[in-house]
Amino acid sequence: MTHISDDDADARATNPDASDPDAHVGRRPSTIGGRAQVFLQGFRFLLAVLRARPMFAVGYGIVVSVIVMAIFAPLIAPYPPETANPTDFLQPPSWRHLLGTDATGMDIFSRIIYAPRIDLTIAIAGTAISAVVGSLIGATVGYYQEVGGAPSFFSGVVMRSADVLQAFPVFVFAIALVAIFGQSLQSIIAAIAFLNIPIYLRLMRSQVMSIRRMRFVEASYVAGTPDRFIILRHVIPNSMAPVLAQLSVNIGWSVLLTAGLSFVGAGVVAPTPEWGSMIAMGFQNIITGQWWPSVFPGIALAVTVFGFALVGASVEVLADPARRRALSGNMRQHRAKES
């Protein structure tokens, strides 16, 4: 939450009426020392949260280490990820090849280290695009839904189109999109972004519809602020919380979808290290007993998605005032036990 509180504080400073989940954050401190203090407080709060809920710490740990792994892959990986070594095919895990080699003799450990470069790029880019586009459309639709006349009509049309999009079988739809745009990184990102847009559209719309009726929005409207400015400046910053909670979970889900696409051969193409296509490559070997080419990438994939899900769960708790209070109670109990 801390990273949006800047905008939030702004919105609140101009609109004292805003429904305010973080009342204690208060106004933006003006001095540098004050800022540092707020930052320190936030950091301490985070540490306390992590102590009370160690699983959240595990989640953050997983996400950070996967990202670090992706960035420093060339330094960590013992072998080049795309070089086949036909003499060393299907070696079981050993000291030479930590997680063994696949049917073409590529080192599985190195490929697993490189894979998040592709998987996370696709998932994060796809999620980010859908969140921005979906939120903007959702905010606009929510803002104009009850105005009447043409704007309401178009809002209705947008919502019905979202209904139709969501009625499609997700997976077939994704494969069709990739087939249309051609099999490239950009088209997989586009497909995932496209599939996720309705989620953010709905989330944002329902938030905005309730925020729109609040007095600070009306005040701004009466003061003659243009609609565009009201939406961007006042409405969106105050309805971001559920979208933020959704982001992390959605990234994990997109990683799964990317892997699924690659598994059927409509995603990332074979020699490029990617978890789903690695699992697919080991598919035939598992029946004859060589489990390592498929099992290890799957574990890496599951752990990553698990980590993002935990981070999402933590954001959900921190963004919900009631649950945060419950958590603070937990933390006090912890401290009481320790002392």
Binding site: A167, I175, V303
Partner: protein, 337 residues
């Protein structure tokens, strides 16, 4: 009577909804590059034969014209065109494959319910126990595991190592004579036929894919049951019952009865999702289901199977949502009003 009026109202919207879905998917799949005529006749075919085939398939008409013809065939003759891969009418193919998918996901969701509901109820009632912790992790893990990977791991353990189940190649053993098709679901057909060999073979082949789908779909069912039960047990009527000293079993039963609508909702959502979403598991087990058929269609620019599949699954989802509404009427007296 209220229910009849309600269903009638729903029926009015079904037509336009279906038309919208077909319209969007038609123009969408028409964008998939690849010329079916070339794919059917091979790269060596002469231009004149290609042209003839295109004219025959109506490919030389404009896309809106093709759409009108497609709709006309569908509405007047129930014809969804032919697949050039199987060279058979899509409706026949789908009537063969849809039951395979439906049998799989129905059993998978039943298993998911058997896992999710008891765990969810237990976790909601014993908030601080091991069961609640386990449920939390199970929910997160089920959402994180790729289903196709879980299927492979299960195959490795139960087929490769233990040899308890038949190889993951289709719905029956090679040498088993399939029962005559009545419903298309092999378990039911072989029961009706009294063919015990086919029954045991079909059941054996179902074990692993059903286990995969059950374990994965148990997660969301568990979460939904847990959170709703939580709310119900916190509600005034449960507290009142507790104060009156009613036995735990009765309190839980009443709370569960009131949680059923949301469990039904999540199951219906999962059902709609799995019609197309089970495709990865189908591929792993060479199931020959409808999702697999559609994916093959997309990958080979064979558009009729894709359209047919989208149409079938849209109709099925609508039927499922209708059934769900009927169930609401049956289990929730408030809806009946």
């Amino acid at each position: 009577m209220r229910i009849m009026r309600y269903i009638g109202k729903r029926m009015i919207f079904i037509g336009p909804q279906l038309l919208g879905i077909i319209l969007v998917s038609f123009f969408l799949v028409k964008l998939i590059p690849g010329d079916p005529a070339v794919m059917m006749l091979g790269p060596m075919a002469s231009e004149s034969t290609l042209e003839e085939l295109r004219a025959d398939m109506g490919l030389n008409l404009s896309v809106p014209q093709q759409f009108l013809i497609y709709i006309e065939n569908l509405v007047l003759h129930g014809d969804l065109g032919r697949s050039w891969q199987t060279t058979r009418p899509v409706t026949e193919d789908l009537f063969l494959r849809m039951p395979a998918t439906l049998e799989l996901i129905t059993l998978g969701l039943i298993l998911g319910l058997l896992i999710g509901v008891p765990l969810g109820v237990g976790a909601a009632y014993l908030k601080r126990g091991i069961l609640a912790k386990f449920s939390d992790y199970y929910g997160l893990l089920a959402g994180a595991l790729p289903d196709f990977w879980l299927a492979l791991v299960l195959i490795f353990f139960f087929y490769t190592i233990l040899g308890w189940v038949p190889p993951p190649l289709g719905r029956l053993d090679f040498f088993t004579i399939p029962p005559p098709t009545i419903t298309g679901a092999l378990l039911i057909d072989s029961l009706l036929d009294g063919n015990w060999q086919a029954l045991s073979s079909a059941a054996g082949h179902l074990i692993l894919p059903v286990l995969t789908l059950g374990l994965i779909s148990g997660g969301p069912i568990l979460k939904m049951t847990q959170s709703t039960m939580d709310r119900m047990l916190e509600s005034d009527y449960s507290r009142y019952e507790e104060m009156c000293g009613l036995p735990k079993a009765i309190i839980i039963r009443h709370a569960l009865r009131n949680s059923l609508p949301s469990v039904v909702t999540i199951v219906s959502v999962l059902y709609g999702f799995l019609i197309g979403g089970a495709v990865l598991v189908e591929i792993v087990f060479s199931w020959g289901g409808a999702g697999q058929y559609a994916v093959q269609g997309v990958l080979n620019a064979d558009i009729n199977p894709v359209l047919g599949f989208v149409f079938f699954s849209a109709v099925l989802s609508l039927i499922i949502y209708l059934i769900v509404d009927l169930i609401y009427f049956a289990i929730d007296p408030r809806v009946r009003g």
